[in-house]
Subunit: 269 residues, 2 copies
């Protein structure tokens, strides 16, 4: 089956979707993206993701050369062409064909792909290793993933699935997910040094109906002493963390309740 | 005149040198590069730059699919085809066409361009603004330039040319250059949190014939009280810094002496 992509205004087979080597993402890693899923042809929380995509591009001085409606029309067309029950839709906006190889071009390059993927099942174990790191310009969903990709070999050796970043004793996030803990019936998650996830946003909108919330700096030692720890994101929804370094965790009642409630929100999207 | 580039084993007109949007530099900013100049068809300090390029790729787990001799043969061919008195040669190695859009591919994508550029003249004023920032994985010449490119607008407003990074009160480097100061007849430059430049390396090899050297952490306030401040790099050689924030500097005797000596080294290269 042909897989289709969108590139600079046109939908085409992905193998034809090429960019010249003078693109500023290739030369200087300069670009932003966003990612969301479509279930049975229905994009989930698309407007929230497009809001964040616009915010990321704006913060890096990139001007999306399409209206929101044009983006949405092409996303829906891609979803229709790439027939899979579960699709991950990625939008990428780069600095374009820079004249001097450094300053962004007047017009960025913008592409979108829609690929099938497998959701992390709620029951599947997920272990993290702590890594001291603070993502730069954390509030921007930039394409810079050099740090977490460079530690993939270390993850394999540790038989871990992903990283938990901390800095100065406080946790921030995982490589592509936000982190929440439950301790003594209280839901706690950090607010600074992180990318503000859309799944995180949805949880913070409904969680106070289930348990009280504290949004504040979270010490790594608090995480290790928590009753429940979970991570959140579009491809993971809410996933219990079963191990951090050598410390194991049980999947708790609140994590499961929040997960079930998130499914309801997705169905309403 | 047609401009030629090298891409994955072939030399071709640069407008034909395209990569698919599934390349890991486009999706995840995952890539490294190196850059050096060729004067009158003669590459300057090429072996040092290829050493560093190999080191950067190795540190990110990328395997260059060519021997050193194959790389050199193609560099020399590009230099011959792109006839300019002064060429900047850039080699880029990316994570390749990743299967899952995250883990590097078995085979990277590797391309090289050779473009004319204008050297920053020694006498031209050059001003910096201080920016608190620590480049991640500083010892790797990665393609991640999101931070300095995102402050280009701020540089324009401040009428400054570039940034001077500092962190916890200590300076590290500029966006694409190393920093040296001269104070009381002593040459001082930092050694950690920086990319170790090839021009820096050359200077450290010969400078002790001219003045004593200290390689150690350098406080920002020391820089602001220095007698001479200069930055170094392939496109700048040794360039006196004339202003940092609101503080002005004169071009000093030692900066000029080191510059003249560097020209001799380049001629011997």
């Amino acid at each position: 089956m042909v897989e289709y992509a969108f590139l600079n205004g046109e939908i085409m087979p992905i193998e034809n979707a090429n960019l010249n080597i003078t693109d500023l993402a290739l030369l200087r890693g300069y670009g932003v993206f966003d990612f969301f899923k479509a279930i049975d042809g229905r994009p989930i929380f698309m407007e929230d993701h497009l809001d964040r995509f616009e915010s990321s591009t704006w913060l890096l001085g990139l001007k999306i050369p399409y209206t929101r409606d044009e983006l949405k029309k092409n996303i829906l067309e891609l979803v229709k062409l790439n027939k899979h029950k579960l699709l991950g839709i990625k939008l990428v906006c780069t600095g374009g064909y820079s004249i001097d190889g450094y300053a962004p071009a007047e017009k960025p390059n913008l592409f979108m792909v829609a690929k099938p993927f497998i959701m992390h099942p709620f029951e599947k174990e997920l272990s993290l290793i702590t890594v001291e790191h603070q993502r730069e310009l954390a509030e921007i969903k930039s394409i810079n993933y050099i740090k977490p990709i460079s530690v993939l070999a270390q993850l394999r050796i540790s038989e871990a699935d992903d990283v938990l970043y901390y800095s100065d004793g406080y946790i921030t996030e995982s490589s592509r997910s936000n982190i929440f803990i439950v301790k003594n019936g209280l839901l706690v998650t950090p607010d600074t040094g992180i990318l503000k996830g859309i799944t995180r946003k949805k949880i913070l909108q409904f969680a106070s109906e289930i348990l009280p919330i504290e949004i504040r700096p979270v010490k790594l030692e608090e995480v290790l002493e928590a009753d429940e720890v979970f991570m959140t994101g579009s491809t993971k929804r809410i996933t219990p963390i079963t191990k951090i370094d050598n410390k194991s965790f049980q999947t708790g009642h609140f994590t499961r309740t929040l997960y079930n409630r998130l499914l309801v929100e997705e169905n309403l999207s």
